[in-house]
């Protein structure tokens, strides 16, 4: 039975990918690069650091395959989540963005910092995480961004020492096998995701856990009393262990802003 499954998987993984398509586009179905996603097995228990906490270190790809899925042959779907509890004025503003305005406000379109929690919520690319007792180092390939977080449960800076930062003032603690990152004082120019703006009162709580060797899970809670009626918590997002290096990815040729502005002009004339 195991052999049968292995053979089936191998056939599924083989490229070119043979799937149905309209006749006029048939040649492109033979394209190299398309991926039929095959989820990784759990792989055993997670490793632990010398202090006994779970070691979150690894190269982590979004999704369950341990590799890039940008050109998956399966559709992307977002997990079910509760509606965002916007205050009425904030909901009106959020729903009032056109699709072009959403693009033009995006950190990724503008090549500006994605901030916290954007390194997870506004990033389609691979992560590298290195944990050691007392510290987490988080790199993302997307525009070569990074952050370093103390995980020893230290308090936030004193209010008089805080300044607006894209990643905020971050501190982390362990709750069992879950690392909880607590961030405040986050620059208002960032979005939570997809046009979800925030105030200077934003408080982000991120949770990271590694239930098995091959999987990392991420969840975040947003508390923003100037924008929301109550705190909101995301679904758990799955990432999986890859075995390749991050590659250089600097934003050096950004044509989209100017092109989208032309589109915005057309939109305004309608």
């Amino acid at each position: 039975m195991k052999m049968c499954v292995a053979v089936t998987l191998a056939a599924v993984c083989a490229l070119p990918v043979a799937v149905a398509a309209q006749d006029d586009k048939k040649p492109f179905v033979q394209a190299r690069g398309s991926v039929v996603p095959v989820p990784l097995p759990p792989g055993g228990p997670p490793p632990r650091m010398s202090d006994g906490h779970v070691d979150l270190s690894g190269v982590w790809f979004p999704g369950p395959t341990g590799k890039a899925n940008a050109w998956s042959v399966l559709p992307e779907q977002r997990a079910k989540e509760d509606p965002i509890p916007f205050q009425p004025w904030a909901e009106a503003k959020y729903k009032g963005f056109s699709r072009v305005e959403l693009e033009l406000g995006s950190a990724n379109v503008n090549c500006t910092p994605v901030g916290t929690p954007g390194m997870f919520t506004d990033n389609a690319y691979v992560h590298q995480i290195d944990t050691k007792p007392g510290m987490l180092i988080h790199l993302i390939e997307n525009n070569n961004r990074w952050r370093v977080v103390h995980t020893d449960g230290r308090p936030h800076k004193k209010p008089e020492d805080l300044e607006p930062l894209f990643n905020g003032d971050e501190t982390a603690r362990w709750e069992g096998d879950t690392l909880v990152i607590d961030s405040i004082s986050i620059d208002e120019r960032t979005w939570i995701r997809d046009g979800w703006f925030h105030s200077d009162q934003l408080h982000v709580i991120e949770r990271l856990r590694r239930p098995s060797l091959n999987y990392l899970e991420y969840q975040f809670t947003i508390d923003d009393p100037k924008v929301l009626t109550k705190p909101w918590t995301s679904a758990w997002i799955t990432l999986s262990l890859g075995h390749e290096d991050l590659t250089e990815n600097f934003c050096t040729r950004n044509e989209n802003v100017d092109e989208l502005k032309k589109l915005l002009d057309i939109e305004k004339k309608k």
Binding site: K25, A31, P37, P62, G63, T65, A70, V73, N256
Partner: protein
Amino acid sequence: MKATAAITLGLLVLLTSSSAFAHHAFAVEFDATKCSDITGVLTKVAYENPHAYVFVDGKNAAGEKVPMTFQLSSTSNLKRGGATFAALNGSVNKEVTVRGCLSRNGTDDRYAASFIKLADGTIQRVGQDVEGIFGTKLWR
């Protein structure tokens, strides 16, 4: 049996989790209903981010040379999909065919490319499946 269950579970995870959404929505800037196969001579590869570009001298209806710009995905996605700089650059000054979808903003001859047939006959995926060729049409 265990393996089958693990795979089913894994696929379930795939369908109920996500952070793999695109750098940004191609469908806003490009029209997935105005796509065509465009053949011409590849003149330059700009292997940069957030998007790589290939430049192709195509022809208009009168047979005149027309410089065309095709936006590809990021170098991260291209490399991992096999469309390396060397693979693309090897076709410079040679004939290629690009599946391109026209820009919505009126800029002449600017397209988003989803596939490219290189001079050696290989077809590389270089962008999002905006036409739903694989059934993966963008949801936004």
